[in-house]
Amino acid sequence: MGALAYYGFTIAIYTCLSAIQALGFNLQFGFAGIINLAYVVLVAVGAYSTAIAAVAPAPHGGLTQYIGGFGWPFPWDMLFGIFCTLAFSAVLGGLAFKRLREDYLAVSMIVVGAGLLVLINDDVPIFNGTSGMAGVPGPFQDQLGPEAYQFVFLMMSAVSALLIFLLFSRITKSPFGRALKAVREDSDAAASLGKSPWRLKMSAFLLGGLAAGLSGSLLILYIGAWNTSAWLPQESLIVLAAIIVGGRGNHGGAVLGTFVVIGVITQATKFIPSFGNAVLVASLQVVSIGLLILAFMWWRPQGLLPELKDQYLRVGIKKELSDSGPALPRAVD
């Protein structure tokens, strides 16, 4: 298989996994109104925990140091990764949602993300510092040939993305979605109707964490390596752009936004002349994504696919109320 085909597979897999992240982030940000700008930290938790589950223990006194190293095969390493992400999200959410209002929450998430970056970079024994984890074996990589492996992994990623899309759509198109929207729009009014804002936000946060863990896990299984540069704050920018461009509070919008943003990234490099070094090109990519977000916020804040106004049951009413009296409600939709 030529280099172009490999490149194609890489982009396609990366797009599917980014779509999963976008769907998870959208659930937190668009549907629940949780401004978690450090979503990428949850992805990192999934990646790191999958890594320490999959690789062999670090050799004593060697240059690479990390905790764990259970040597589990697929799918146990991935499940461990997802589990750790859920646990981490639960702790984070438990501390944050009961006590912090939205602006404090957003700021705290950034602090957590930045602080963890410093911590993991400096404290080498945890996850091998700036070098990070490497040599993570992919699922069935030995049994399949290189081409078949790419194809199988693409199928896995696409199916996962589709499952998350269907699952999240089903969850939000229900009384849960209605109550969540109510908490987002006016938390106190929702509480006065007996809805617990904490429980609803926590559920949404955990679901977003589930998507992050799944995506992080698959990412490291595919790439085989992961270090702190993979979860810098600017990585959150991609998933943020996908939502702002695609549409907050709209699952289809999240997926569409992912396609658009990745398209912009890959195509934009063709137009940025390579007069500068690689650093300049990468920086300009980030700057263009940032500007894209600003442009959409200014001109089309609802995104390409705006939130469906009322996704829940709507009552179709026959307008002839005069003689026969109002018709019985029939749920339309």
């Binding site: 089903r170 939000t172 009384p175 509480a191 007996g194 679901l207 009322d310 109002p326 019985l328 749920a331």
Partner: protein, 270 residues
């Protein structure tokens, strides 16, 4: 006649459980004492009005009782349960509902969705229930109840309209429908007639009176317009400067000097 605190039972009499019991409720707000040692009891089935000049602390008191504000001292009991300083959703789940001074309708949801939010213990509101899809039957039942409420309030025509498209009076009625979906045992009404057109006020009053058909249903109503207080409530508590200064029928209160004095500083006409 000023209401006393919670009366103690003698060995012979057994006191019925009060709907609402307030005991020495005090609340300060950035330096000012908004509510001072308020105590009163409301038996089940009573319709009580809470009146007083602007700034007397009426809404603050409602906020404390309902859990909107948990920064207060004192005890609040509802139907014998201690709801002091419990959060809004906990109080609502104890079947004590409230409306707000400005109706908090969801503008980007339809009237039907707004009302359906009031239904309690919805299976579909948990993630598991939503995933399994076991909520549809209950939702259909809730929908019928919501429709019945909307029809009773004359809101069938606007059922599919969004909250943003409603008039002030319609918002008020929708809010009441929504709150009734909770099947509450008592409601705290905050100025229910404010912003309602004269035409709709009669209908609103009739609807509130209709609810009296349930002998255990209790209402505590903050209201300025005394003609409605007269028609709907058999007892009135007067709050001024955060303290209860009078408690009795409107006729009794009209003669009391303390009540008239408290209104002299305001633009209200007793």
């Amino acid at each position: 006649m000023v209401a006393s605190g919670i009366p103690t039972a003698t060995s012979a009499e057994i006191r019925p459980v009060m709907a609402l019991d307030l005991n020495e409720v005090s609340c300060s707000y950035g330096g000012t004492k908004a509510v001072r040692s308020v105590s009163f009891s409301i038996p089940k089935g009573a319709y009580v009005a809470l009146i007083g000049p602007n700034g007397a602390g009426k809404t603050t008191l409602l906020n404390c009782i309902s859990g909107y504000n948990s920064n207060y001292r004192g005890r609040v009991l509802f139907d014998g349960h201690d709801i002091s300083r419990k959060p809004l959703h906990h109080v609502a789940n104890q079947s004590l509902a409230r409306t707000f001074q400005v109706p908090r309708i969801y503008r980007r949801m339809t009237v039907v969705s707004n009302v359906m939010l009031g239904a309690r213990r919805q299976i579909g509101e948990s993630v598991l229930g939503a995933v399994l899809g076991t909520w549809r039957k209950q939702e259909a039942e809730n929908l019928e109840r919501a429709w019945a409420l909307l029809t009773r309030f004359g809101l069938e025509r606007v059922a599919d309209n969004y909250g943003a498209e409603l008039s002030g009076g319609q918002e008020r009625l929708v809010e009441l429908c929504r709150v009734l979906m909770l099947k509450p045992r008592a409601i705290l009404l905050d100025e229910p007639f404010a912003g309602v057109s004269p035409a709709n006020r009669r209908r609103l009053a009739d609807l509130i009176l209709e609810l009296k058909s349930d002998p255990d249903f209790t209402i505590l109503m903050v209201e300025h317009r005394l003609e409605w207080v007269d028609q709907l409530c058999e007892r009135t508590i007067v709050l001024a400067n955060g303290a209860v200064i009078a408690d009795g029928t409107l006729a009794e209160l009209r003669g009391q000097k303390s009540v008239i004095d408290s209104y002299l500083g305001s633009t209200e006409i007793a």
